[in-house]
Protein backbone atom coordinates (compact mmCIF):
# COMPACT_ATOMS: atom_id res chain seq x y z
CA UNK A 1 0.00 0.00 0.00
CA UNK A 2 3.03 2.31 0.28
CA UNK A 3 3.26 2.47 -3.50
CA UNK A 4 0.37 4.33 -5.03
CA UNK A 5 -1.67 1.97 -7.16
CA UNK A 6 -2.18 2.68 -10.80
CA UNK A 7 -5.68 3.69 -11.68
CA UNK A 8 -6.80 4.11 -15.19
CA UNK A 9 -10.06 5.90 -14.59
CA UNK A 10 -11.62 5.74 -18.00
CA UNK A 11 -15.00 7.00 -16.90
CA UNK A 12 -16.15 9.16 -14.04
CA UNK A 13 -17.93 7.60 -11.11
CA UNK A 14 -21.18 9.43 -11.87
CA UNK A 15 -21.32 8.07 -15.42
CA UNK A 16 -20.64 4.53 -14.18
CA UNK A 17 -23.28 4.89 -11.49
CA UNK A 18 -25.81 6.04 -14.12
CA UNK A 19 -24.95 3.05 -16.30
CA UNK A 20 -25.27 0.66 -13.36
CA UNK A 21 -28.75 2.04 -12.62
CA UNK A 22 -29.72 1.58 -16.27
CA UNK A 23 -28.70 -2.06 -16.15
CA UNK A 24 -30.57 -2.56 -12.92
CA UNK A 25 -33.80 -1.08 -14.28
CA UNK A 26 -33.47 -2.85 -17.62
CA UNK A 27 -33.16 -6.16 -15.85
CA UNK A 28 -36.10 -5.45 -13.57
CA UNK A 29 -38.29 -4.18 -16.41
CA UNK A 30 -37.61 -6.92 -18.86
CA UNK A 31 -39.83 -9.89 -18.20
CA UNK A 32 -38.06 -12.00 -20.79
CA UNK A 33 -34.53 -11.19 -19.65
CA UNK A 34 -32.58 -13.62 -21.79
CA UNK A 35 -29.27 -15.40 -21.56
CA UNK A 36 -27.89 -12.90 -24.07
CA UNK A 37 -29.03 -9.97 -21.92
CA UNK A 38 -27.39 -11.52 -18.90
CA UNK A 39 -24.20 -12.13 -20.88
CA UNK A 40 -24.11 -8.47 -21.90
CA UNK A 41 -24.54 -7.41 -18.28
CA UNK A 42 -21.85 -9.85 -17.12
CA UNK A 43 -19.47 -8.54 -19.77
CA UNK A 44 -19.99 -5.00 -18.55
CA UNK A 45 -19.52 -6.04 -14.93
CA UNK A 46 -16.29 -7.86 -15.75
CA UNK A 47 -14.88 -4.96 -17.69
CA UNK A 48 -13.71 -3.11 -14.58
CA UNK A 49 -14.07 -3.44 -10.81
CA UNK A 50 -15.53 0.08 -10.90
CA UNK A 51 -18.49 -1.33 -12.82
CA UNK A 52 -19.00 -4.27 -10.50
CA UNK A 53 -18.83 -2.15 -7.35
CA UNK A 54 -21.13 0.51 -8.79
CA UNK A 55 -23.64 -2.20 -9.70
CA UNK A 56 -23.54 -3.79 -6.24
CA UNK A 57 -23.94 -0.36 -4.70
CA UNK A 58 -26.88 0.56 -6.93
CA UNK A 59 -28.53 -2.80 -6.41
CA UNK A 60 -28.40 -2.60 -2.63
CA UNK A 61 -29.66 0.99 -2.63
CA UNK A 62 -32.56 0.11 -4.93
CA UNK A 63 -33.32 -2.93 -2.79
CA UNK A 64 -33.86 -0.63 0.17
CA UNK A 65 -36.69 1.06 -1.68
CA UNK A 66 -38.30 -2.36 -2.06
CA UNK A 67 -38.50 -2.63 1.70
CA UNK A 68 -40.33 0.65 1.63
CA UNK A 69 -43.03 -0.72 -0.63
CA UNK A 70 -43.64 -3.70 1.63
CA UNK A 71 -43.63 -1.92 4.96
CA UNK A 72 -45.01 1.44 4.10
CA UNK A 73 -48.47 2.13 5.48
CA UNK A 74 -51.03 2.15 2.72
CA UNK A 75 -51.79 5.60 1.38
CA UNK A 76 -54.85 6.41 -0.63
CA UNK A 77 -54.06 6.82 -4.30
CA UNK A 78 -54.00 10.36 -5.62
CA UNK A 79 -57.32 11.62 -6.89
CA UNK A 80 -57.76 11.04 -10.61
CA UNK A 81 -57.07 14.06 -12.72
CA UNK A 82 -60.04 15.53 -14.59
CA UNK A 83 -58.66 14.22 -17.88
CA UNK A 84 -59.17 10.66 -16.65
CA UNK A 85 -62.78 11.11 -15.66
CA UNK A 86 -64.33 10.58 -19.03
CA UNK A 87 -62.27 7.46 -19.51
CA UNK A 88 -63.43 6.23 -16.14
CA UNK A 89 -67.01 6.85 -17.17
CA UNK A 90 -66.56 4.93 -20.37
CA UNK A 91 -65.05 2.01 -18.49
CA UNK A 92 -67.92 2.11 -16.06
CA UNK A 93 -70.22 1.65 -19.01
CA UNK A 94 -68.26 -1.37 -20.14
CA UNK A 95 -68.27 -2.83 -16.66
CA UNK A 96 -72.01 -2.23 -16.44
CA UNK A 97 -72.48 -4.69 -19.23
CA UNK A 98 -70.76 -7.44 -17.27
CA UNK A 99 -72.30 -10.59 -18.58
CA UNK A 100 -71.85 -13.96 -17.07
CA UNK A 101 -71.86 -16.76 -19.60
CA UNK A 102 -71.46 -20.50 -19.51
CA UNK A 103 -72.44 -21.05 -15.94
CA UNK A 104 -74.33 -24.26 -15.49
CA UNK A 105 -75.47 -24.00 -11.94
CA UNK A 106 -75.82 -20.61 -10.39
CA UNK A 107 -77.03 -21.57 -7.00
CA UNK A 108 -78.37 -18.43 -5.51
CA UNK A 109 -78.62 -14.73 -6.00
CA UNK A 110 -77.89 -12.77 -2.92
CA UNK A 111 -81.06 -11.07 -1.74
CA UNK A 112 -79.57 -9.53 1.35
CA UNK A 113 -77.59 -6.97 -0.57
CA UNK A 114 -79.05 -5.87 -3.85
CA UNK A 115 -75.76 -4.70 -5.27
CA UNK A 116 -74.20 -8.14 -5.58
CA UNK A 117 -74.97 -11.42 -7.26
CA UNK A 118 -73.68 -14.55 -5.57
CA UNK A 119 -72.16 -17.47 -7.46
CA UNK A 120 -71.12 -20.69 -5.80
CA UNK A 121 -70.00 -24.23 -6.35
CA UNK A 122 -71.00 -27.32 -4.39
CA UNK A 123 -68.57 -29.86 -2.95
CA UNK A 124 -66.51 -31.16 -5.86
CA UNK A 125 -67.84 -28.41 -8.12
CA UNK A 126 -65.79 -26.42 -10.60
CA UNK A 127 -66.95 -23.62 -12.85
CA UNK A 128 -65.69 -20.65 -14.76
CA UNK A 129 -67.26 -17.21 -14.73
CA UNK A 130 -66.52 -15.17 -17.85
CA UNK A 131 -66.93 -11.47 -17.20
CA UNK A 132 -67.89 -8.90 -19.77
CA UNK A 133 -64.56 -7.10 -19.43
CA UNK A 134 -62.63 -10.18 -20.54
CA UNK A 135 -61.63 -11.30 -17.06
CA UNK A 136 -62.29 -14.84 -15.87
CA UNK A 137 -62.87 -16.30 -12.45
CA UNK A 138 -62.53 -20.04 -12.04
CA UNK A 139 -64.18 -21.39 -8.91
CA UNK A 140 -62.89 -24.49 -7.17
CA UNK A 141 -64.89 -26.79 -4.90
CA UNK A 142 -67.18 -25.38 -2.19
CA UNK A 143 -66.61 -21.75 -3.12
CA UNK A 144 -68.71 -18.61 -2.86
CA UNK A 145 -67.98 -15.31 -4.61
CA UNK A 146 -70.06 -12.19 -4.92
CA UNK A 147 -69.89 -9.98 -7.99
CA UNK A 148 -71.21 -6.47 -8.23
CA UNK A 149 -74.45 -6.28 -10.22
CA UNK A 150 -73.72 -3.15 -12.13
CA UNK A 151 -70.70 -0.90 -12.21
CA UNK A 152 -67.40 -1.90 -10.70
CA UNK A 153 -64.89 -4.71 -10.57
CA UNK A 154 -64.88 -5.29 -6.84
CA UNK A 155 -65.30 -8.99 -6.17
CA UNK A 156 -65.79 -10.57 -2.77
CA UNK A 157 -64.46 -14.07 -2.08
CA UNK A 158 -66.70 -15.36 0.72
CA UNK A 159 -65.10 -18.78 1.01
CA UNK A 160 -63.24 -21.43 -0.92
CA UNK A 161 -60.73 -21.00 -3.72
CA UNK A 162 -60.68 -19.25 -7.06
CA UNK A 163 -58.27 -18.59 -9.91
CA UNK A 164 -58.44 -15.05 -11.26
CA UNK A 165 -57.34 -14.15 -14.74
CA UNK A 166 -57.79 -10.43 -14.89
CA UNK A 167 -58.03 -8.10 -17.84
CA UNK A 168 -56.00 -5.27 -16.39
CA UNK A 169 -57.24 -1.72 -16.49
CA UNK A 170 -55.24 1.07 -14.95
CA UNK A 171 -58.09 3.39 -14.18
CA UNK A 172 -60.53 0.75 -13.00
CA UNK A 173 -58.65 -1.71 -10.80
CA UNK A 174 -59.94 -5.22 -10.26
CA UNK A 175 -60.14 -5.82 -6.53
CA UNK A 176 -60.84 -9.05 -4.65
CA UNK A 177 -61.83 -8.65 -1.04
CA UNK A 178 -61.44 -11.49 1.47
CA UNK A 179 -61.92 -11.83 5.23
CA UNK A 180 -58.30 -10.84 5.75
CA UNK A 181 -57.24 -8.18 3.34
CA UNK A 182 -57.72 -7.65 -0.35
CA UNK A 183 -55.87 -8.13 -3.63
CA UNK A 184 -55.59 -5.32 -6.14
CA UNK A 185 -54.75 -6.47 -9.65
CA UNK A 186 -51.87 -4.83 -11.48
CA UNK A 187 -52.04 -7.05 -14.58
CA UNK A 188 -52.35 -10.53 -13.30
CA UNK A 189 -53.23 -14.16 -12.80
CA UNK A 190 -53.56 -15.26 -9.20
CA UNK A 191 -55.22 -17.79 -6.92
CA UNK A 192 -56.89 -16.97 -3.64
CA UNK A 193 -57.96 -19.54 -1.11
CA UNK A 194 -59.87 -18.67 2.01
CA UNK A 195 -60.15 -21.29 4.69
CA UNK A 196 -60.66 -20.98 8.44
CA UNK A 197 -59.91 -17.25 8.57
CA UNK A 198 -56.65 -17.76 6.72
CA UNK A 199 -56.30 -16.28 3.27
CA UNK A 200 -53.67 -17.56 0.90
CA UNK A 201 -52.82 -15.60 -2.24
CA UNK A 202 -50.51 -17.15 -4.84
CA UNK A 203 -49.35 -14.95 -7.66
CA UNK A 204 -48.98 -16.88 -10.92
CA UNK A 205 -48.29 -14.20 -13.49
CA UNK A 206 -47.91 -10.43 -13.63
CA UNK A 207 -48.24 -8.32 -10.55
CA UNK A 208 -50.77 -7.62 -7.85
CA UNK A 209 -50.86 -5.79 -4.60
CA UNK A 210 -52.02 -7.44 -1.41
CA UNK A 211 -53.43 -5.12 1.22
CA UNK A 212 -53.73 -6.59 4.67
CA UNK A 213 -56.75 -5.96 6.87
CA UNK A 214 -56.46 -2.61 8.56
CA UNK A 215 -54.96 -2.44 12.01
CA UNK A 216 -55.51 0.68 14.00
CA UNK A 217 -56.50 2.45 10.85
CA UNK A 218 -53.26 1.51 9.10
CA UNK A 219 -53.02 -0.88 6.18
CA UNK A 220 -50.05 -2.96 5.19
CA UNK A 221 -49.54 -3.57 1.55
CA UNK A 222 -47.17 -5.82 -0.36
CA UNK A 223 -46.56 -5.91 -4.08
CA UNK A 224 -46.49 -9.51 -5.31
CA UNK A 225 -44.38 -10.91 -8.09
CA UNK A 226 -44.79 -14.34 -9.75
CA UNK A 227 -44.13 -17.12 -7.23
CA UNK A 228 -44.97 -14.98 -4.23
CA UNK A 229 -47.39 -16.53 -1.78
CA UNK A 230 -49.04 -14.51 0.96
CA UNK A 231 -50.64 -16.05 4.03
CA UNK A 232 -52.80 -13.58 5.90
CA UNK A 233 -55.09 -13.61 8.88
CA UNK A 234 -56.97 -10.70 10.41
CA UNK A 235 -53.81 -9.59 12.19
CA UNK A 236 -50.83 -11.06 10.42
CA UNK A 237 -49.33 -11.14 6.96
CA UNK A 238 -46.48 -13.40 5.86
CA UNK A 239 -44.83 -13.65 2.49
CA UNK A 240 -42.91 -16.56 0.94
CA UNK A 241 -41.66 -17.62 -2.45
CA UNK A 242 -42.64 -20.85 -4.18
CA UNK A 243 -41.12 -22.42 -7.27
CA UNK A 244 -43.29 -22.24 -10.41
CA UNK A 245 -43.59 -26.05 -10.49
CA UNK A 246 -45.08 -26.16 -7.01
CA UNK A 247 -47.59 -23.43 -7.81
CA UNK A 248 -48.68 -25.22 -10.95
CA UNK A 249 -49.11 -28.47 -8.97
CA UNK A 250 -51.29 -26.59 -6.51
CA UNK A 251 -53.44 -25.49 -9.40
CA UNK A 252 -54.05 -29.04 -10.61
CA UNK A 253 -57.68 -28.60 -9.55
CA UNK A 254 -58.21 -26.42 -12.59
CA UNK A 255 -57.93 -29.62 -14.61
CA UNK A 256 -59.80 -31.65 -12.01
CA UNK A 257 -56.59 -33.14 -10.63
CA UNK A 258 -54.82 -33.29 -7.31
CA UNK A 259 -51.08 -33.38 -7.73
CA UNK A 260 -49.07 -34.47 -4.71
CA UNK A 261 -45.31 -34.28 -4.70
CA UNK A 262 -44.03 -34.16 -1.16
CA UNK A 263 -47.29 -34.31 0.73
CA UNK A 264 -47.98 -36.18 3.94
CA UNK A 265 -50.95 -38.53 4.04
CA UNK A 266 -52.73 -36.10 6.35
CA UNK A 267 -52.24 -33.19 3.92
CA UNK A 268 -53.33 -35.30 0.95
CA UNK A 269 -56.44 -36.45 2.84
CA UNK A 270 -57.31 -32.85 3.71
CA UNK A 271 -57.10 -31.99 0.03
CA UNK A 272 -59.38 -34.87 -1.03
CA UNK A 273 -61.86 -34.02 1.70
CA UNK A 274 -62.35 -30.58 0.20
CA UNK A 275 -63.89 -32.18 -2.89
CA UNK A 276 -65.88 -35.18 -1.74
CA UNK A 277 -68.67 -36.20 0.58
CA UNK A 278 -66.67 -39.32 1.45
CA UNK A 279 -64.13 -38.22 4.03
CA UNK A 280 -60.73 -39.79 4.47
CA UNK A 281 -59.70 -40.18 8.08
CA UNK A 282 -55.99 -40.80 8.57
CA UNK A 283 -54.83 -42.48 11.75
CA UNK A 284 -52.34 -40.21 13.55
CA UNK A 285 -49.73 -42.99 13.56
CA UNK A 286 -49.48 -42.91 9.74
CA UNK A 287 -50.35 -39.23 9.15
CA UNK A 288 -46.75 -38.24 8.56
CA UNK A 289 -46.07 -40.78 5.76
CA UNK A 290 -45.17 -39.12 2.47
CA UNK A 291 -47.05 -39.68 -0.73
CA UNK A 292 -46.59 -38.83 -4.40
CA UNK A 293 -49.08 -39.09 -7.19
CA UNK A 294 -51.67 -37.50 -9.40
CA UNK A 295 -55.36 -38.23 -8.80
CA UNK A 296 -58.69 -37.14 -10.06
CA UNK A 297 -60.28 -34.99 -7.35
CA UNK A 298 -63.22 -37.42 -7.10
CA UNK A 299 -61.18 -40.62 -7.13
CA UNK A 300 -61.03 -41.28 -3.40
CA UNK A 301 -61.09 -45.03 -3.91
CA UNK A 302 -57.97 -44.98 -6.11
CA UNK A 303 -56.21 -42.96 -3.45
CA UNK A 304 -57.26 -45.47 -0.78
CA UNK A 305 -56.11 -48.42 -2.91
CA UNK A 306 -52.80 -46.74 -3.50
CA UNK A 307 -52.13 -46.29 0.18
CA UNK A 308 -52.77 -50.02 0.58
CA UNK A 309 -50.52 -51.06 -2.29
CA UNK A 310 -47.71 -48.53 -2.01
CA UNK A 311 -47.56 -48.01 1.72
CA UNK A 312 -48.97 -51.32 2.96
CA UNK A 313 -51.71 -49.69 4.98
CA UNK A 314 -55.27 -50.82 5.71
CA UNK A 315 -58.40 -49.02 4.65
CA UNK A 316 -61.91 -49.56 5.91
CA UNK A 317 -65.13 -47.88 4.85
CA UNK A 318 -68.02 -47.06 7.14
CA UNK A 319 -70.75 -44.90 5.64
CA UNK A 320 -68.99 -41.93 4.13
CA UNK A 321 -65.85 -42.37 6.20
CA UNK A 322 -62.79 -44.07 4.81
CA UNK A 323 -60.27 -44.82 7.53
CA UNK A 324 -56.61 -45.40 6.79
CA UNK A 325 -54.69 -47.22 9.48
CA UNK A 326 -51.56 -49.27 9.87
Amino acid sequence: MSEPMQHAVSQGADAIHARAVEWLLAREDNEDWSGADQAALDAWLNEAPEHLLAYWRAKSGWKRTEVLSALRPFRPQPKPEPAHNWKRFRLAMVAASVAVIGIAGIIAANWKTERYVTYSTALGGHKTLALGDGSEIELNTDTVVRLPKGVGRQVILEKGEAFFQVRHDDSNPFIVTTNSGRVVDLGTKFVIRQHNRVVKVSLVEGRARFEGASQEGEKRSVVLDPGDVVLATADSVSLMKKPARELSNEMGWRHGMLIFRHKTLAEAADEFNRYNTEKIIVDPSVAHLEIRGTFHTADVSLFARMTEKALGLHTSTKGNDISITR
Binding site: M1, H7, D29, W56, R57, W62, R64, R72, Q77, V223
Partner: protein
Protein backbone atom coordinates in the same frame (compact mmCIF):
# COMPACT_ATOMS: atom_id res chain seq x y z
CA UNK B 1 2.39 9.53 6.17
CA UNK B 2 -0.57 9.41 8.51
CA UNK B 3 -0.78 5.66 8.17
CA UNK B 4 -0.77 3.67 11.39
CA UNK B 5 1.72 0.80 11.67
CA UNK B 6 -0.85 -1.79 12.79
CA UNK B 7 -2.88 -1.33 9.68
CA UNK B 8 0.14 -1.61 7.43
CA UNK B 9 1.01 -4.94 9.02
CA UNK B 10 -2.56 -6.09 8.70
CA UNK B 11 -2.53 -5.17 5.03
CA UNK B 12 0.69 -7.04 4.36
CA UNK B 13 -0.69 -10.10 6.08
CA UNK B 14 -3.78 -9.90 3.96
CA UNK B 15 -1.74 -9.72 0.80
CA UNK B 16 0.18 -12.80 1.87
CA UNK B 17 -2.92 -14.96 2.09
CA UNK B 18 -4.49 -16.10 -1.09
CA UNK B 19 -7.79 -17.74 -0.43
CA UNK B 20 -10.25 -17.23 -3.27
CA UNK B 21 -13.47 -15.45 -2.29
CA UNK B 22 -16.61 -15.97 -4.31
CA UNK B 23 -18.23 -13.00 -6.05
CA UNK B 24 -21.37 -13.69 -4.08
CA UNK B 25 -19.53 -13.46 -0.73
CA UNK B 26 -17.72 -10.36 -1.89
CA UNK B 27 -20.98 -8.69 -2.81
CA UNK B 28 -22.51 -9.61 0.56
CA UNK B 29 -19.44 -8.27 2.34
CA UNK B 30 -19.43 -5.06 0.31
CA UNK B 31 -23.12 -4.42 0.91
CA UNK B 32 -23.24 -5.27 4.60
CA UNK B 33 -19.86 -3.99 5.78
CA UNK B 34 -18.57 -1.34 3.40
CA UNK B 35 -21.64 0.54 2.21
CA UNK B 36 -22.86 1.37 5.74
CA UNK B 37 -19.57 3.25 6.21
CA UNK B 38 -20.20 5.43 3.19
CA UNK B 39 -21.72 8.40 5.05
CA UNK B 40 -18.65 8.57 7.33
CA UNK B 41 -16.33 8.17 4.35
CA UNK B 42 -18.06 10.91 2.38
CA UNK B 43 -17.96 13.20 5.38
CA UNK B 44 -14.23 12.56 5.64
CA UNK B 45 -13.69 13.24 1.94
CA UNK B 46 -15.76 16.41 2.07
CA UNK B 47 -13.66 17.76 4.87
CA UNK B 48 -10.41 16.85 3.18
CA UNK B 49 -10.94 17.67 -0.48
CA UNK B 50 -12.10 21.01 -1.70
CA UNK B 51 -13.66 20.17 -5.05
CA UNK B 52 -17.07 18.55 -4.40
CA UNK B 53 -17.20 17.44 -8.04
CA UNK B 54 -14.34 15.00 -7.37
CA UNK B 55 -15.90 13.25 -4.40
CA UNK B 56 -17.71 10.48 -6.25
CA UNK B 57 -14.54 9.64 -8.21
CA UNK B 58 -12.48 9.55 -5.03
CA UNK B 59 -15.02 7.24 -3.41
CA UNK B 60 -14.93 4.99 -6.45
CA UNK B 61 -11.14 4.74 -6.36
CA UNK B 62 -11.15 4.01 -2.64
CA UNK B 63 -13.71 1.23 -3.13
CA UNK B 64 -11.63 -0.29 -5.92
CA UNK B 65 -8.49 -0.31 -3.76
CA UNK B 66 -10.43 -1.89 -0.90
CA UNK B 67 -11.94 -4.43 -3.28
CA UNK B 68 -8.50 -5.46 -4.58
CA UNK B 69 -7.58 -6.34 -0.99
CA UNK B 70 -10.89 -8.02 -0.25
CA UNK B 71 -10.66 -10.34 -3.26
CA UNK B 72 -8.02 -12.25 -1.29
CA UNK B 73 -9.79 -12.01 2.03
CA UNK B 74 -12.51 -9.56 3.04
CA UNK B 75 -11.15 -7.61 6.04
CA UNK B 76 -13.02 -7.49 9.35
CA UNK B 77 -13.43 -4.89 10.65
CA UNK B 78 -13.43 -2.79 7.50
CA UNK B 79 -13.35 0.66 8.99
CA UNK B 80 -9.63 1.06 9.88
CA UNK B 81 -8.55 -0.26 6.50
CA UNK B 82 -11.08 1.82 4.59
CA UNK B 83 -9.88 5.02 6.22
CA UNK B 84 -6.24 4.10 5.77
CA UNK B 85 -6.87 3.61 2.08
CA UNK B 86 -8.79 6.90 1.94
CA UNK B 87 -5.95 8.78 3.64
CA UNK B 88 -3.33 7.24 1.36
CA UNK B 89 -5.32 8.04 -1.72
CA UNK B 90 -5.76 11.65 -0.66
CA UNK B 91 -2.05 11.96 0.01
CA UNK B 92 -1.33 10.59 -3.48
CA UNK B 93 -3.69 13.16 -4.91
CA UNK B 94 -2.21 16.00 -2.92
CA UNK B 95 1.20 15.05 -4.25
CA UNK B 96 0.04 14.63 -7.78
CA UNK B 97 -1.72 17.96 -7.81
CA UNK B 98 1.18 19.56 -5.95
CA UNK B 99 -1.12 20.86 -3.28
CA UNK B 100 0.36 21.54 0.08
CA UNK B 101 -2.44 20.13 2.09
CA UNK B 102 -2.25 22.29 5.17
CA UNK B 103 -5.98 22.37 5.56
CA UNK B 104 -6.28 18.80 4.49
CA UNK B 105 -3.84 17.50 7.07
CA UNK B 106 -5.61 19.33 9.84
CA UNK B 107 -8.86 17.82 8.73
CA UNK B 108 -7.37 14.36 8.46
CA UNK B 109 -6.39 14.48 12.11
CA UNK B 110 -9.82 15.66 13.06
CA UNK B 111 -11.62 13.03 11.07
CA UNK B 112 -9.50 10.26 12.50
CA UNK B 113 -11.43 10.77 15.73
CA UNK B 114 -14.75 11.05 13.95
CA UNK B 115 -14.17 7.82 12.06
CA UNK B 116 -14.05 5.98 15.36
CA UNK B 117 -17.50 7.17 16.35
CA UNK B 118 -19.72 4.14 16.82
CA UNK B 119 -22.02 3.23 13.96
CA UNK B 120 -25.67 3.20 14.94
CA UNK B 121 -27.22 0.06 16.33
CA UNK B 122 -28.91 -2.17 13.74
CA UNK B 123 -32.32 -1.90 15.35
CA UNK B 124 -32.07 1.87 15.17
CA UNK B 125 -31.14 1.59 11.52
CA UNK B 126 -34.21 -0.56 10.85
CA UNK B 127 -36.51 1.76 12.78
CA UNK B 128 -35.28 4.79 10.89
CA UNK B 129 -35.32 3.15 7.49
CA UNK B 130 -38.81 4.19 6.41
CA UNK B 131 -38.30 7.75 7.67
CA UNK B 132 -34.98 7.94 5.85
CA UNK B 133 -36.49 6.64 2.62
CA UNK B 134 -39.25 9.17 2.86
CA UNK B 135 -36.77 11.97 3.47
CA UNK B 136 -34.75 10.85 0.43
CA UNK B 137 -37.88 10.66 -1.71
CA UNK B 138 -38.79 14.19 -0.70
CA UNK B 139 -35.55 15.38 -2.25
CA UNK B 140 -36.30 13.98 -5.71
CA UNK B 141 -37.79 16.19 -8.43
CA UNK B 142 -41.59 15.71 -8.28
CA UNK B 143 -41.98 13.83 -11.59
CA UNK B 144 -39.09 11.51 -10.78
CA UNK B 145 -40.56 10.86 -7.37
CA UNK B 146 -43.94 10.08 -8.85
CA UNK B 147 -42.45 7.61 -11.32
CA UNK B 148 -40.37 5.91 -8.61
CA UNK B 149 -43.35 5.69 -6.26
CA UNK B 150 -45.58 4.18 -8.93
CA UNK B 151 -42.89 1.62 -9.63
CA UNK B 152 -41.92 0.78 -6.09
CA UNK B 153 -45.08 1.27 -4.09
CA UNK B 154 -47.68 0.31 -6.66
CA UNK B 155 -45.53 -2.10 -8.63
CA UNK B 156 -46.48 -0.72 -12.03
CA UNK B 157 -44.36 -1.35 -15.10
CA UNK B 158 -43.12 1.31 -17.47
CA UNK B 159 -46.16 1.22 -19.75
CA UNK B 160 -48.55 1.39 -16.82
CA UNK B 161 -46.68 4.33 -15.32
CA UNK B 162 -46.78 6.09 -18.69
CA UNK B 163 -50.57 5.70 -18.78
CA UNK B 164 -50.98 6.89 -15.23
CA UNK B 165 -48.76 9.93 -15.66
CA UNK B 166 -49.93 10.74 -19.15
CA UNK B 167 -46.40 10.79 -20.62
CA UNK B 168 -44.45 8.58 -23.01
CA UNK B 169 -42.74 5.35 -21.96
CA UNK B 170 -39.39 6.91 -22.89
CA UNK B 171 -39.98 9.85 -20.56
CA UNK B 172 -41.00 7.43 -17.82
CA UNK B 173 -37.72 5.60 -18.42
CA UNK B 174 -35.76 8.82 -18.05
CA UNK B 175 -37.64 9.80 -14.88
CA UNK B 176 -37.08 6.35 -13.39
CA UNK B 177 -33.37 6.39 -14.23
CA UNK B 178 -32.84 9.88 -12.81
CA UNK B 179 -34.98 9.14 -9.79
CA UNK B 180 -33.29 5.83 -9.02
CA UNK B 181 -29.82 7.30 -9.55
CA UNK B 182 -30.47 10.16 -7.12
CA UNK B 183 -32.32 8.03 -4.63
CA UNK B 184 -29.57 5.42 -4.47
CA UNK B 185 -26.95 8.11 -3.91
CA UNK B 186 -29.05 9.78 -1.24
CA UNK B 187 -29.64 6.50 0.55
CA UNK B 188 -25.97 5.58 0.61
CA UNK B 189 -24.27 8.92 1.08
CA UNK B 190 -26.42 10.57 3.65
CA UNK B 191 -27.37 7.87 6.02
CA UNK B 192 -27.89 10.25 8.89
CA UNK B 193 -31.16 12.09 8.41
Amino acid sequence: MVETPETTRELNELHARSAGVSAHDLEAWFVSEVLPLEPALMQFLQHSWRRPADLADLRQDIYVRLYEVAKTKPPHPVKPLLFTIARNLLIDRFRRERIIPIEGVADLAEIEVASDAPTPDRSVIARDEVRRLEAALEKLPPRCREAVMLRRVEGLNRAEIALRMGISKETVGAHLRDGARLLIDLLHDRDTP
